[in-house]
């Protein structure tokens, strides 16, 4: 029984970590990391340190979700849809399964819309969904147009070169539209959007997105350039084989040391299982200083992060306005299409 649980949790942990480090989709890597942590927490609970295990789960589910959020803001294709087309090693392919390469994705999307049309005719209950997906598709088209227009605005010289590529860059532009939208929306949350709501009435979403495109237009442009200039889109550094050898060597060395070293004295006596009481007394007594220090560190961390992120800390964003406008309810997405 115990061995079964141990095997399960170990599998979860190791596979999660492997997947985290090898998958092409950053979102997935975040989720895999969370899975790995939950596995570690299971091991903790198996070691009758259940409080720590639950603590770990709590901290890392919340933390991981926020981390993924940031990650999606940063990376150019969080879903890994663009990577999925590339050649990968077998393990990467394993953990990236289910991410379809870009081109299939396109017609896949169309087919999806088509059959949804049929379904929509058949079932009126579907209309809402159909409308949603439909307009999300259109949305991406819109994003695409924005992007193209953006390019032609920003670097008119570049845009002609871009046009042919937009065919297969479309997916990425969808990614962009989506991402830009998300970015805008998250920005609305952490009050750091670039003049979002400069015209803060009903098509504020639209304008927000447009500004978003405008704001990030340059780096999307750079992205196109770099990609055209043959930038390696890979997520790994050139030092990757070395890294693999190093990691392997470290684990082997550690295990070797473990086997080479004489066993530790195992204590089999009884011990109190009232973890909260024990930990509380220790934290309030013996480790008071460390406890206070950790608390102070957390406080400093919070304040530091807030200070770094406070609106207007970046020269080119009118974060203040975004902060004010984001207090209002966003308008329906379906309205900003008109």
């Amino acid at each position: 029984m115990q061995w079964l649980a141990f095997g399960l949790f170990t599998l979860l942990t190791v596979l999660g970590a492997l997947g985290m480090s090898t998958t092409m989709s950053m979102f997935r890597s975040g989720i895999f990391l969370m899975a790995s942590f939950i596995g570690v927490a299971g091991l903790f609970i198996l070691l009758s340190a259940d409080l720590i295990g639950l603590l770990q789960i709590m901290m890392y589910i919340g933390g991981m979700l926020v981390m993924i959020l940031f990650m999606l803001l940063f990376s150019m294709d969080p879903g890994g849809a663009m990577m999925a087309g590339m050649k990968m090693s077998s393990i990467e392919r394993l953990f990236s399964r289910g991410l379809k390469p870009q081109r299939e994705d396109e017609d896949g999307g169309h087919s999806g819309q088509n059959e949804m049309n049929e379904e929509g005719d058949s079932d009126e209950q579907k209309l809402h969904d159909h409308a949603t997906v439909q307009h999300s598709g259109m949305k991406m088209g819109g994003g695409h147009d924005h992007h193209a227009m953006q390019n032609s605005d920003d670097r008119s010289g570049q845009s002609e070169q871009d046009q042919p590529h937009h065919g297969d860059m479309a997916g990425m532009n969808m990614g962009d539209a989506n991402e830009a939208h998300n970015r805008h929306d998250h920005a609305a949350m952490n009050h750091a959007n670039t003049d979002h709501g400069a015209d803060g009435q009903k098509n504020q979403e639209q304008s927000g997105e447009h500004d978003q495109m405008h704001h990030s237009g340059m780096d999307h442009g750079d992205m196109d350039d770099m990609e055209m200039g043959g930038m390696d889109m890979s997520m790994v550094t050139p030092a990757r084989p070395w890294a693999a050898y190093l990691g392997l060597a470290v684990s082997v060395v550690l295990v070797g040391l473990l086997l080479w070293r004489p066993a530790w004295p195992i204590y089999n006596g009884p011990f109190s299982t009232d973890a909260p009481r024990e930990i509380g007394t220790l934290l309030m007594g013996k480790y008071m200083m460390a406890f206070e220090g950790a608390g102070m560190l957390i406080l400093l961390g919070i304040f530091g992060a807030v200070m770094l992120q406070r609106p207007g800390s970046h020269p080119s964003d009118q974060g203040r306005k975004a902060y004010v406008t984001s207090e209002e309810n966003p308008v329906r997405i379906s309205e900003d299409e008109s």
Partner: protein, 297 residues
Amino acid sequence: MGIIGGALFTLLTLMVGAALTFFLERTLTPAVGAAQSLKLSKDLQLAHADRWMYPAGPVSALFGVTVAAAVLPFGPSLIGADLGIGAFYFIVVVDFVVLGVALGGWGAGTRDAVEGFYRITAQLVSYVVPLGLAYVGALMMAASLSTTQIVQAQRDVWFIVLQPLGFILYLVTGLMQAYRAPFYEPFSEHLGGGMLSVIGDWKALALRIAMAGLLFVVSAMGAVLYLGGWLGPWLPPPVWMLLKTFALMALMLWLGRRFQPLSTAQMLSLAWRILIPTGLLNVLIVGGLILAGVGPQ
């Protein structure tokens, strides 16, 4: 009862509770937030769905609710698993629901669903701390983390009498945690219902059971923390527990409908500007009460 019995009992309570919750909610509130239509739609083939994450969402949500229901005591011994750290465990595993909705939202890949993913994460950030503070008051008085002992500690007086502030705090944060009005931003109609709009057959079923069960377990935990759980005259304990749970649920829903829905940013500012200071104040008051000898000894 052994592990099997506990599991069965937990599933039973969850199903019953979820069903009752569902109908109560439909009677109390119009179709907003998580209370969607009864008809389950066929599964759509989504263009940008992530083949692994999308199904993982509802499963994780259901899992979270189920394991959370395991520590709800319906009687002195009528409990799925009487953990020593039950309340903390409850806080933790309810997060799996958030995780599930987030996974489903991202996995669905449509814009509304991804919206929902972002908002639900931000809502998690906003409610986690005040929720913990709302628990702390009761835990301090009960001097234990085990749900049964928390209930036992309210044998002579309920904690709602001793710490009304904490109870109000729990009402608000419980609504936030359960994604009911006025805190249903991730599923609100201007997101087209978030992922609820696209999710299909069995996933939709699992998700709705999870959402209904979420409200159920949250209000049950509220009853345990502040309304003295199963304690009560004449009636058998489980009945008391259910009564209290649904009374609390009705109160929460009824109150929630009285307010204008909040956006995530508003939730964040509400939580960090008002709820957290309130919670700290409540913790101070409870500490004072304990020092004064009021409450269970």
